[in-house]
Symmetry: C2
Subunit: 379 residues, 2 copies
């Protein structure tokens, strides 16, 4: 019987995520596994929620990790906050804005798109004008950190513009949480979702969410049911209001990993971590431009954890990625989806947000560029 | 700053799941993490699917692990196979049959319940009579292994009765996969879902599913959309039809764990593993009855991996569980949900399916029973 063994090679993960996991986080996953109804687990869940509140800067409402991928976290936000026939205004300037729109349509919402080109940022003024045209819109949804283009949305300003309105604000914080300034409570975000495998530097598998009090109130008066797995009110009872109302079996080891990752974030200091991501990105982005390569993102809205670089005309971008992977063990990403421009996506997230890691990526990129250019030059 | 450390105590997990994880499985989770779009990951995914096919005994159709909990796997099955207004016949004799019905209603289906008492098995004849009364029913759904009562449904016979009909058959195999005989292909099951934390003895977090060719054909002609995260046709493209159509970021380390757990199942031999679960359960169940305690499940339909024991009249069942946990480090379960009779639920799953583990549980139960009975005797 031929039973293959698992022998994954070493990688420096500098694509759009996942990023490399801290050894301490891996170690946490090997600790004794408790049952999901164990009274001793409650303290761990309580601590995870407390730390997550600090990382999201969300003092009230509901904060917890959903036991699903970041994409399912997006869908959970949409499924909870929207009902069939609701209007949602979606800012779309890349793959993930488009996905919000697609999922909202699947859940029966009427989607009003406010678009910008890949690399540009959706304008807050344009979003507010759309809201003026659709004053009954239930929600405005934007991507705080557009992982497909390396663009950061001015979310604080959007929150300020929406203050006093009935319209909810949902933000995709998949590549921003613990990597760039984010203050869900102060900014008036009603639902933020993220994932564990980017700036938190835990393995993929959970989707931390933060939900405002007023969003929870809206949930309590819904007319139509939410898919069971996504039902935030049931999940609140399961996670927070112990003794347990059984909902599902929590992925215990993933929670251990998140616990350790959150400790690491708070031990470093959240603002120090934002600063470290900013410094690494500034170094990477300046070094790339100094090589004559072009960045995709509008300079006024560049994201730190993810940098998109235009592939030079005539260069085979995928071949460069393959060389970096095979010859240097370094993963970087390419464009995402059929509409993406020809780009590389370099992520410096979590422990990889350092000038040293940036330099490793740059050296491998330099070597691959020379090798890929050589046949063209020879020709 | 007070940052709590993770210090979970050791447990022998003999409740309804999760069960203890093999050290080799934990070790697999510490191997180098690949990105979810890494070409070298494809081989791993391919191997996981191949091994899972053998464990499900499903030669065709779609087999893959969903990146969600077992409960979400149940919801994915329902959301894919049913559309609003469809009729589904649900066999309900415990918590999980009831949950199928609840989730089906949330997704707009008309539910026809065929019930039996907790501890009894839903009759296949009654299911077929319900189908005769509702000949247009799209699906019959049963729980192969009712984790809340320790009852095994005669699934092979139900599949045979349904042969030649248009009605689909869905089976909850959460506590049966790799623990009791299950032949999804030969029995004509159209959608089976399970989880990783029971007889597969991997950590919780994934939901392996097996879907028949005819169920996939039905999916291709749906009139209404499926929630994005659950969309089996998109997931098929993401998992199977590489190069990748991006769907979400796969939980890589959970996949490594499942890979190793499946290797362990197939190295032991699937039938040998079924036999080991049967022997451990026979020993446990006989030993419990020899103590004068009563088993909940109908003797003709007793499940091996999970045994439900009636709490004797006047005994505080929860206090016994707490003693076993605190004094012996052994977790067993109680009744699940408000309708459950007073029971203990003892799981012997995965590596814990052994006579040695059964004897550890029995010794701890004996001690706890004496200690709990003592005050009553003294009074």
């Amino acid at each position: 019987m031929d039973l293959p063994q698992l022998r994954p090679p070493e990688r420096l993960l500098c694509g759009p995520g996942p990023t490399n996991v801290d050894p301490a986080v891996l170690e946490a996953m090997s600790r004794p596994m408790l049952g999901h109804l164990d009274p001793d687990l409650y303290e761990i869940l309580h601590d995870v929620v407390g730390m997550l509140r600090r990382v999201y800067r969300m003092p009230d409402g509901l904060v917890l990790p959903l036991h699903c991928t970041g994409t399912a976290g997006m869908e959970a936000g949409i499924a909870n906050l929207l009902e069939p026939g609701d209007t949602v205004i979606v800012g779309q300037c890349g793959f993930f804005g488009r996905r919000i729109a697609e999922i909202a349509r699947r859940h029966g919402a009427d989607v009003v798109l406010v678009e910008a080109d890949w690399g540009d940022c959706v304008s807050n003024d344009a979003l507010m004008e759309a809201l003026d045209r659709h004053p009954g819109a239930r929600m405005v949804a934007v991507v705080h950190a557009e992982t497909s283009t390396g663009v950061e949305h001015p979310l604080a300003q959007l929150g300020a513009l929406l203050r006093g309105r009935d319209t909810l604000l949902m933000a995709d914080c998949v590549t921003s949480l613990a990597g760039v300034p984010l203050e869900v409570g102060a900014w008036g975000v009603d639902l933020a979702y993220s994932c564990t495998q980017k700036c938190l530097a835990a393995p993929p598998g959970l989707s931390p969410v933060a939900v405002s009090e007023r969003a929870l109130e809206r949930l309590r008066s819904r007319r139509t049911p939410v898919p069971f797995s996504f039902d935030l009110l049931l999940l609140e009872r399961y996670w927070i209001e112990r003794p347990v109302t059984y909902h599902h079996t929590a992925p215990i080891l993933a929670i251990y990993a998140l616990h350790e990752a959150l400790r690491s974030v708070l031990t470093e200091g959240l603002e120090e971590r934002w600063e470290r991501h900013a410094e690494a990105a500034a170094h990477l982005q300046a070094s790339i431009e100094s090589r004559g390569l072009e960045l995709l993102a509008d300079p006024d809205h560049r994201l730190a954890p993810l940098t998109a670089v235009r592939v030079p005309e005539g260069m085979d971008g995928k071949a460069v990625q393959t060389r970096m992977l095979r010859e240097h063990g370094i993963e970087i990403g390419g464009g995402l989806g059929p509409d993406a421009p020809a780009i590389w996506r370099i992520g410096l997230m979590g422990r990889n947000a350092s000038i040293e890691t940036a330099d490793l990526v740059l050296a491998a990129l330099d070597a691959a560029l020379v090798e890929e250019a050589a046949p063209a030059l020879a020709g």
